[in-house]
Structure formats: structure tokens, C-alpha cells
Symmetry: C2
Subunit: 304 residues, 2 copies
């Protein structure tokens, strides 16, 4: 099944306690599509970059067989830039600067060829734009959506409109609490699922993820990372791995949703081992399978 | 196998967003022994209370068949008192007052009859006292130990001495980071296991627990609680459930350590559903088994 990915393509300047990198290729659409590409479905990107987006970025996506017809290049403009610094334990980061550049007037146009894509991943962008994408689609089977504090606070009404039109929402725990106004995550899950998405996935960073549906509560462990180099893009990579697995299997059963959460976690664990998107560049399917199995060992126990 | 429990018996005044309670029976030895008592091993307590310790507290422990010969009652003294207030999400609490009273001069005396106990649980008390208990024991098979920030910071040398003499250390994540001076929990685990305990269990509150041994990394999920009433005693209850299961089975294999972690989590999940020790008063073994199985469902997924 084909996957349409909408989101940002960016040049990220990142500082962590372990090093730094300047203007590395990043952005939600980059991470989502790179991660999803490991599951052999056609991946299509809708986004925008400036004339300064490096050939290296294009090559990275092309090497992963990602369809870039929907990537608008504004030659006279500059690519979206983000700079951030992580604190010592990598659990918190400070945004140092955000320059939207060509992303400021981004108006997603879905190429004719993409409109029948069965899976849609709406990266973390303005909920108004997320809706504009959905309006151009012809009956997608699954819509997976990400968002963030900024849209929950500043565009709440538009976000609620988007939530009515999606199937799977991916959020982190603080965002889930903010959106639902409920500190307890299980209650928050019920409130949020009442807003539209039948499936909610709450990412808890180093503590794993929670899958919540009408009848399932599934707690996915975090991979015990000894060497987290750079958490940038981990959440997008999670969503990409999840979408890639679902698109590959075209199976939305609860058992398969659980596996999809583990595949999302698996890809995210590779992502954070290197700077930027480096960790998603040269994986093999065997490596992915192997780590998936390690996740299973990690949380498996027998009854008495 | 018999279990010796050493720790505090206290009168706790607790405020949570859902209510409050004044001078309720609590303390680490109370929670540990009540939880451990559900696994049918003889449980023995060493601790101290004042003449004001209510009959209700004695009755609670006696009804759980807990041996109180080692409980010193100083008629002229007052019982240890603690008062605390939890914040809205229950993840943080402020201590409002601590009155050590008879606990200030606590000098644990292990009755002759207790000295051959095969399992020892050292609740969170001064590491000097923890050692004094061990000196009185005759070759215990397993020593489980809890501690806290206060001892890590103020009695570091004594704590390191204690750690050399124990088998299983139970800590929360911030304590593990503080003790090891290492923000990454997996690395922290290796550092701490180098200090003595071959088994380390890191409690992560609403995020579950991590079991770390030489060859196992096991991630236990948290039970998805909708109604956490009062987190007081959850950590002690965890240690008690863990000890109770290990003493019942007398099996320290890695598979059984995993089960013990889940039983600890199971008991803790009952504890937080009510105020103080109320949640540990009237459980049945069937309820415990049932929730243990729910833990398994919570984290189980199939391969592809």
C-alpha cells in the first residue's frame, strides 16, 4: 500500500552533550519517509524546500526510493531552519531559533498521482494545512496524524477539526495531557479518542509508548539505549516506522497495531544512535527484524 | 522461606488532589510486610513505635499474620510522623513535616528467633542501621535493600558499605542517576551493580520498572491506573511484593526475578487505589493472580 507523507523538510543545527552538527538535513517529512521506506511500500512526499536544500538531502531520499514529485522547490527561497540544544540527560531541549523561510507560505499540493494513496501520514504542521491535504485525497484508508503543544494551544479549534478526520493520533505524554486537560494518561486517552481518532498512541520517550484503542491497552517498552546520540526526529521516525509496517501489512487488527508500535519504536531506536538522519541511512531489514525481536525479549515474562 | 522486614512504622498525614487523611498507619516496614504477607511466608518485623501507635495499626499487621515480636514499643515515646502533599499529577510530592520521635534513636534488635530468616528486606533507613541488622543475621540467602536521595547524599560512604553486603537493590530512577552520577539508566545500572548488588531494580513510577542483572534487561510495564488515589507506600509495597514472591518460590532464576518484579508491580497497583495501607488490607490471592495476568496482557505482542 502506498504512503503519502506531508511535513517539513529542514536544515537542523543541533547541539547535544556528545557533539553538534550544523544545517543537517532533517524535518518531519524526512524522518517519517525515511523510516517508512524500510517496509517496501511506495512512499510519496509532499513538502517544500528552498534553492539551498543540499543535493545530499535529495540523494538521501532518492536512495530510499522515496517519490519526490510532490516536493516543491522554491529556487529563490531558503529552506526551513531549526536550531536546538539538548540538556545533559537528553530528555529536554531548548529551541534556539526557528526560521520558517519557504515553509511560512507552505500550501501543500498533492500531485494527481498521489491522491489515491491508501495511507496518509500528516506530520506535525499547522492543522489547517493538514486538513487541506486531506481535502485533496480520494478516500484514504488510514490517516495517521502528529501534532504538538504549539498547535494544541494556538490552533485548538482547527486541530479539533483535523482530529475528527483521522484514524490514528500520535502524541507525546505532555501533549496528551495538554490536549485532554487530564493528568491521568488512561483518562486522557479516553478523552482524546472521543475527539475522533479511534487509535491513540502516546509516546513516552525513554519510557516507551502506550497504544490505546476501544478494547486494548498496550504498553510498549523502550529499547534500553546506552548510547543515545541525538533524539532529534525520534518521534517522527516512530510515526514513519508505524505507518510503514501498517502499509506493508494492510492489517489494522489490534495484534498488528501492537506490532506496528514496536516497529515504530525499533526505527526510533536506530534513529537516536546517530546524529540527524544518519541512523536511518543504511539499515538492513535483518537489523530491523533483529531489534524487533530484542524488544520482545525485553518485555516477555512467563506466568507462574 | 521466612522474611525479615526492617523499616519504619509511622503515622502519615497525606494530602492528595482527591482527599486527605490524618495520622494514618504507614511507614516502610508496614507497607513491605503487608505486601509480602500475601505470599504465605512467615513475615517478621523489626521496628519501633511509641505508646501512641494505635491498636488499629497492630491489628492490621496481626490480621496479616505478621510476627511482631521484633516490634519495640516505647510507651513513653511518640511514633514517627510524616506529612506530605502530592501535586496535581501525583508524580511529585512535597514533604510538609517529619518528626522522627522514637525513630531518632532506633537501634534495631533482631530477636534470636528471627536470625535465621532466609530473606531480609532492609527498608529505607539509615545505611548504618541496615548494616547493624545484617550483622545480627545468620547467613541470609537474599538481602533486598531500599534507600533514598537523603542517604545517597548524606551517608554515601555508609551506603556503599551496605551495598557491598546485599543482593538486590531497589531504587527509583532519579536515585539511580544520583547514586551512579550517570544520566543514562542502562549505564547507571552497570555502575550500581559494580557497587555490590547483582540485581538492580529501577522503579519508574507511572512508567513501570526495569530489572537489570548481568545478563538480563527486563522492562516491566506499569499497570494503567485510572484512579490513583494515593501513591504513598507504592515503592515499599513493590519491594514487599517482590520479596514475598521470591520467598514463596525460593527461586532466584532470571525468569522468576521477572515474575517477582511483576508481583511487586501488582501489589503496588492495589496499594495506590486507596489511601494509606487500605489498599493492602483485604486482597485475595485470586485478585492478585488476576492482575498479574493483566500485566502480561498489557505488554504481550506476537512476532510477525
Amino acid at each position: 500500500m502506498s504512503v503519502l507523507v506531508v511535513g517539513s523538510l529542514a536544515l537542523d543545527t543541533i547541539e547535544t552533550p556528545f557533539g553538534s552538527v550544523r544545517e543537517a538535513v532533517g524535518g518531519s517529512a524526512t524522518y517519517i519517509s525515511a523510516a517508512a521506506s524500510y517496509f517496501f511500500s511506495p512512499i510519496r512526499v509532499v513538502g517544500v524546500v528552498g534553492g539551498d536544500f543540499p543535493q545530499e538531502g535529495m540523494t538521501l531520499l532518492e536512495e530510499r526510493n522515496i517519490d519526490l514529485e510532490g516536493l516543491e522547490v522554491i529556487k529563490s527561497g531558503k529552506t526551513f531552519r531549526w536550531a536546538g540544544r539538548y540538556r545533559y540527560d537528553l530528555n529536554e531541549r531548548d529551541t534556539l531559533s526557528t526560521d520558517l523561510n519557504v515553509f511560512e507560505k507552505f500550501d501543500p499540493k498533492v500531485p494527481e498521482r498521489y491522491r489515491k494513496s491508501k495511507f496518509v501520514v500528516l506530520g506535525n504542521i499547522d492543522p489547517v494545512l493538514q486538513q487541506r491535504v486531506l481535502q485533496q485525497m480520494e478516500n484514504p484508508r488510514v490517516v495517521i496524524c502528529d501534532t504538538m503543544n504549539y498547535w494544541i494551544e494556538r490552533k485548538n479549534k482547527d486541530l479539533l477539526e483535523t482530529l475528527r478526520r483521522i484514524n490514528i493520533l500520535v502524541l507525546n505524554d505532555s501533549e496528551a495531557r495538554l490536549l485532554s486537560k487530564e493528568p491521568n494518561l488512561i483518562k486522557a486517552g479516553r478523552v482524546i479518542r472521543g475527539m475522533g481518532p479511534t487509535v491513540l498512541i502516546i509516546k513516552k520517550g525513554e519510557h516507551g509508548a502506550l497504544l490505546l484503542t476501544e478494547s486494548v491497552t498496550f504498553s510498549a517498552p523502550a529499547y534500553p539505549m546506552e548510547n543515545i546520540f541525538d533524539p532529534t526526529g525520534a518521534g517522527d521516525t516512530f510515526a514513519g516506522g508505524l505507518a510503514g509496517w501498517l502499509a506493508r501489512t494492510d492489517d489494522l487488527s489490534e495484534e498488528n497495531l501492537k506490532r506496528a508500535v514496536i516497529y515504530g519504536s525499533t526505527l526510533a531506536s536506530f534513529c537516536v544512535e546517530k546524529f540527524g538522519v544518519e541512523g536511518l541511512r543504511d539499515l538492513t531489514y535483518l537489523q530491523i527484524q533483529d531489534r524487533f525481536r530484542q524488544f520482545r525479549e525485553l518485555s516477555r515474562f512467563d506466568g507462574d
